[in-house]
Each structure stands twice: as structure tokens, then as C-alpha cells.
Subunit: 253 residues, 2 copies
Amino acid sequence: MDLGERIWTAALVVIGDEILSGRTQDKNVAQVAAWLNVQGIRLAEVRVVADDTAAIVEAVNTLRARNDYLFTTGGIGPTHDDITVDAIAAALEVGVEHHPDAMATLERYYATRGGITEARSRMARVPAGASLIVNKVSGAPGIRWGNIFIMAGVPHITAGMLDALTGTLEGGRPVVSKSVGGWVAESEVADLLRGTEKAHEGVAIGSYPFFREGRVGANFVVRSPDEASVDHCIADLTAQLEAAGYSIVAGGI
Amino acid sequence: MDLGERIWTAALVVIGDEILSGRTQDKNVAQVAAWLNVQGIRLAEVRVVADDTAAIVEAVNTLRARNDYLFTTGGIGPTHDDITVDAIAAALEVGVEHHPDAMATLERYYATRGGITEARSRMARVPAGASLIVNKVSGAPGIRWGNIFIMAGVPHITAGMLDALTGTLEGGRPVVSKSVGGWVAESEVADLLRGTEKAHEGVAIGSYPFFREGRVGANFVVRSPDEASVDHCIADLTAQLEAAGYSIVAGGI
């Protein structure tokens, strides 16, 4: 997909024992990925790490060095297992401070909910020099430090934080992706797919098999930042698959 | 959770542009995590990487060096975007060969499905020296090379491969986890949770807030390989939460 244009990349660190134990099905990877694409930023890599300072520090420092943006989810609540802010401050070699605007927000939020406490004021702690990301759902804000975005673990709170960031990050062209598919075994069309991808510069074709109703099928996804290239490739691929005798469904099945 | 016993760890590399693009919701992290725990092995870290040789090589070599086991999912099909076997062989600095048993399996599988082709025979390619993992669902086997387990991307095929491996890997005691929860704001009980965890050696307490029906609640998960320790901690935690005036549901809500 090299079109000679600047590609903006991001990495995501998912922080949480609950994901690694299998207790909780992660939903943040998919929503962050989809949101990033709309901003013209590619999600280049994801790591899921435990609630462990050394693991967080390693992931944050490795990934922020080689991506334009770094996002984290999880571990910013008020309890003892919420160590994200301290770990990221350690990674950045800065101190931790109570952000005055976050304190004011939490004081307002908890005014009718029993008042601010020491545990609650923990959610105002940020790596020194950070700004805040609005949380429209609950009291505790997200945190921005340079190009690092520290977000909640609860997916719909993260969604609100992403919404608050929409349109504020520099990116390139979003990747356009369109699909065709049908009841076709991918192994029958492997050469056709490879040849079609080669014939269309700047596009990538992914082949995703599935098994449903006892039958084998596949969806073929064509991706490029250039929509016209995607459309040409989809048209070519569809024509070739139909010429080979397959009944193909636009959009995939 | 240091009980002075040997902890067996695994890492998982999820290989696939479709996860990083947000097109596909990953389900393999949760199922591999849950399966590993039954084997007495902890999932210590996960990376999601693109269909890119350098990214796969880096992840595989870093993670296999520091874990007892390494699992991968994705990229073992017959099409041009399936590069996992070649990338892992590159990481291991071994060649790629057609495994004779895999060839025989594929020939049998495709005997009634149009016969073997060059594309289909790609699914018999393994890093030199590998053995096979049975695939009860479709023709292409998984691959074992030392303590590396190369599995499918389609979750129910991966499930079958895990099933074939059940009980064959050395591990320690599985982590037992039990939950209590209720309509309680975690920020109100942060000190109580921290104190309870400290009072119960060898257990970890995780606090997982949720927002439902317009109300705030949380589940508290107690984990340890020692079931008696988990039970003691759960009983203590429940008693303290009830003494503090909360109505607590065993098992969480």
C-alpha cells in the first residue's frame, strides 16, 4: 500500500489482568482501530499487558518511540490495582501531580454522590505536564501527555473519550476498505487473489475464510487510502471470480 | 500472588491486519487465556501484529525468549496474505518444508473437494523440524515447533486445536478466581479493597466497575492458585462490604 504519502501510525497498550485471564472480552482494540482509521491513522500494533509497572513501562516506551501516537486503555480508576498513571509517569521519567481541572471536575461530580475522598482524588492524578480528555460519562477524565492518550478500560467510557478527540489529531487519508465474498474456498482462488493484488498497485487484498451452515466461504477485503484504486480492484476481482464460475456477493457475506 | 511455586507463562501473538483494522473482533485472546488457565499456565502478554514479516519475527523472538510457551493465531491459510509460517521460520532461522503427514491429511481432505493444488499444499508447509496439531474442523493442521504453537485465525478452528492440546503441556496450579459484586462505587471501597488484599497473602483482588441501568456498580475478583486462600479472602471481603452497608451478590453481578 505504499503510495508515497505520509502514513500516520498509532499503537495501543491494553492494560489489564482481566483481559489476560480471559475473564473479560476486550472491546477496545476494535473500537480504537475503527476510530483511528476515520482519523487517517493506522493502528500498527497492540500489546495487552498485565497490571504490572515493568510491563507497562516497556510497552509504552517501545511503542511511543516508533509510532506517531500511543493510546492506552485501562487502569485509571480509584483502586489499588489502577497503576497506569504511575507506570506511565515512570516510563516518561516525570512525577505525578493532581491536575487542578480534574480535581474540580471530580469535586463537582461527587458533590451529589457523597463528596470527594482520597481514593476519588486519585483519579485526578496525572503524569506531570499532562492535559485532560473529557469524560462525558463518569467523573474521571482521560489524560493526554504529548502524543500519549490514556483512556478508560470500560469500553463505553473509552468511546466517549475518543469522541472528544475526534478531529483533533493530525493524520493522513483514511484507508478505504471494501469487500466481496461468497461460498468459495479461498484455496481455490489463491492464485487469482495473488495475481489481482499484484496487478493493482497500492492496494492490499485480505482473504478471510469462514465456515457457516456446514459450508466453506470467504470474504475478500480490498484496502487502500485511494478509493478509486479500491473500486477498480473490487471490479476486477469480482469479474475474475465470476468468470471462474463463482457467485459473488458485493460487500461480502 | 507469589506462593513460592513455579509459575508457567505463555505469550500469544495475534497475527492479522483484520484485527488491527477493526474489521474483525478478536476472540482468540479470551479463549486462549481461559484454556491456558485450565492447563495451569498464565497468559503473561499478548501482541497483535500486522501481516508483516518483520513485526512477526520481532514479536515471536522477544516473547518466546521470556515465556515457557508461545502461541500464535492467524495467517496459516493458503493465500498470499498468509505469511505466518515463513515469518516464524525466519524468526527461528530454519527453512520451510512440506510436512509429509500434513500433505497426506490435505490430500485426504481435498480428495472429495476438487483435489490438492499448489495453493492447498501451501497449508502443509511448516518450519523445518515441526510437528503437527490436529485440526478436526478443516484440513489444514496447526503446527508445533518446540514450545511454539502455531494456530488458525478462525476462532472455532483454534478451539479445536486447543482441544487437541489439552492436558499435553506442563503447567502449575490453575489460578482460581471467584467474584463478589454489587451496586457499589469502587471509589467508596478503595481503601477496604487495598487493605483486604494486603491482609491475604498470595491473593490478588481486581476491581471492575460497570455502569448499567443508569447506576454504578463493581465486581471484585479474587485470584490465587490456592482455592482455600481465595475462599477466605472472598468471605472476609464479603463480610467487610456488608458491614459497610453494601448489599453484595456472591459471584458478582
